[in-house]
């Protein structure tokens, strides 16, 4: 169980990115974190994985707990060893390494080296396409293939929880569907908990059990997926307009006003 309590993050000692963010990822569940550009979704993930430091960010308040242990302030490599693996935004595969070498980097912190060849096969089981490309430089792969590789790199670490930062970014809609099906499959077959950050709320909610909505650095709404899907304001803001509301900008504005008080 990953639990974030009342976390505040400040960049360069001056820019407040998120404030009072609390969320939970129970074991074996998929949790979605939704929100628009600049809402603080990626910051939340980096606060968990410890990558914040490299960008000049710091957790100034609150705690992050993983399996009853405080993990905030640890170096990223220690956090990976604890079983939390973040697939960072924009895929970021090692472009000058081959596909297989990329997968090996994912297993960098693993102590049980002899199981690694089996795990590579497991990645190929989820993403058969990667097997054909395994000797190829990963910089030459398509966006979708790179995203599969980035997630595969995550599987190689055998994490207890996988943090996915916008897996749909810059990928053809058809492939997005496929990749989210793969994520669901990893969750059920491996029992890995998943915290997925998305702008594409429709696709994220299609696989998630629970969701949080983040806006201007605060959590403005949370609930089970069924509850959020039936909520009018969420539909209007994140899932596209209903036909009858189409074009009426006032509806949206009033929604925003109400929401400030949540």
């Amino acid at each position: 169980m990953l639990r974030i309590n009342n976390v505040e993050v400040v960049y360069n000692k001056s820019i407040l990115a998120i404030r009072g963010v609390s969320l939970e990822v129970p074991d074996g569940k998929i949790v979605a974190l939704l929100g628009s550009n600049g809402a603080g979704k990626s910051t939340t993930l980096k606060a968990i994985s410890g990558l914040l430091k490299q960008e000049g960010g710091a957790i100034t308040e609150g705690t992050i707990e993983f399996e009853k242990e405080q993990i905030h302030g640890m170096d990223p490599d220690k956090i990976v060893e604890k079983g939390i693996f973040q697939c960072i935004e924009g895929r970021r595969v090692f472009t000058h390494l081959t596909v297989e070498e990329n997968l090996l980097t994912g297993a960098y912190t693993r102590k049980d080296r002899k199981n690694i060849p089996d795990d590579i096969e497991r990645v190929y089981h989820y993403f058969p396409k990667l097997k054909m490309l395994r000797k190829k430089l990963s910089g030459l792969l398509s966006g979708g293939e790179q995203q599969m590789l980035a997630i595969g790199r995550g599987i190689m670490a055998r994490p207890k929880i996988l943090l996915l930062d916008e897996p749909s970014l810059g990928i053809a809609p058809l492939l997005v569907k496929e990749i989210f099906e793969n994520i669901k499959q990893i969750n059920t077959e491996e029992g890995t908990s998943i915290l997925v950050v998305e702008q594409n709320a429709n696709i994220a909610l299609s696989i998630a059990d629970y969701a949080y909505v983040l806006e201007n650095g605060r959590i403005v709404m949370q609930g089970s997926v069924d509850k959020l899907l039936s909520d009018e304001s969420v539909k209007a803001a994140y899932l596209g307009f209903d036909k009858k509301e189409k074009g009426d900008i006032r509806e949206v504005k009033s929604y925003k006003k109400i929401k400030r008080f949540v």
Partner: protein, 294 residues
């Protein structure tokens, strides 16, 4: 014909040492994106340490050599920890300035301890030249070449097949992504500086055996810079190929052009080649310049 071959072989030997010192530059450039302008001083200090161990403390050469390597690895790591670690998120130019300061500091120490006089190694390698047909090679050249080739092969294998090599390549490729998979970028930096200093020491000891040691040895850092740029700053293969290339061209210049055009051309020619090649290939012969998907 014999003269030409002789020049080429001398060039290959000198070039192999260039390749080794260039490797030190490339390792650090790949890891941190900065040039280590104190590389020449690592060469100098490595050479002096080994000389002191052999000449003053009378330690057999092979042990002195190994001790020097250990010393230089530690020196490289200490420098990283004290000077460069605080600059980890600083702009590249700050890092380069720090290495310039470092080079003055290390050179100053070396002069304080060992002075400015040229000192020569006691003869380590046999001095009877080896004759192969028309060509004469002195054993110290042959041994240098063999040692360099062994070092280069070892480093090649390390990079391609070891876990550490994979981590070093991953950090060179994308630091943020490397941290995200659990590679400790700090540790990789530390080890990289250790390695860079180690190869510099090997270069220094070999050069010292060939020419003797004095304060001017540190200028090899400058001579090797065109080699590194020619090979492409981030390419290890490039550094090696360019090292041999520059060594050979330098010696051919010394043999054929200097008698006509006057001395000193040997020192200038690498820079002329680099300028010409960079006009055609801006990333050097083997530089990456980014993979583009089509």
């Amino acid at each position: 014909m014999g003269f030409l071959l002789q020049m080429i072989i001398t060039g290959v030997v000198v070039g192999s040492i260039y390749a080794l010192v260039a490797l030190g530059f490339v390792l650090i450039y790949r890891a941190s994106g900065a040039l280590n302008l104190a590389n020449g001083e690592f060469v100098l200090i490595g050479s002096y340490i080994c000389l002191t161990l052999v000449a003053v403390y009378q330690i057999p050469f092979i042990f002195a050599f190994l001790l020097t390597l250990v010393f230089n690895v530690l020196l490289g790591m200490i420098v990283e920890r004290v000077v460069l670690r605080p600059l980890i998120n600083a702009p590249t130019i700050s890092v380069i300035m720090a290495t310039i300061g470092l080079s003055s500091l290390l050179a100053g120490f070396a002069h304080m301890i060992w002075g400015y006089q040229t000192q020569s190694y006691p003869p380590v390698f046999p001095s009877t030249p080896i004759r192969m047909g028309e060509i004469i090679i002195s054993p110290v050249y042959l041994w240098s070449f063999i040692i360099v080739i062994i070092m280069l092969i070892l480093f090649g294998l390390l990079f391609k097949y070891s876990k550490l090599g994979l981590a070093m390549r991953a950090v060179a490729d994308d630091q943020m992504a490397a941290s995200s998979v659990g590679i400790s970028v700090k540790n990789v930096y530390l080890i990289t500086w250790g390695f860079a200093s180690l190869v510099a020491a090997v270069g220094g000891v070999l050069l010292g055996n060939i020419n003797g040691v004095d304060a001017t040895m540190a200028t090899i850092g400058l001579t090797v810079l065109p080699v590194v740029i020619l090979g492409g700053l981030d390419s290890i293969l490039g550094a090696i190929v360019a090292g041999f290339l520059v060594g050979i061209i330098q010696n051919l210049t010394a043999g054929y052009l200097e008698p006509i055009l006057g001395g000193g051309l040997k020192e200038v020619i690498p820079f002329i080649i680099v300028t010409l090649i960079l006009m055609i290939k801006p990333h050097g012969l083997f530089g990456k310049g980014g993979i583009e998907r089509v």
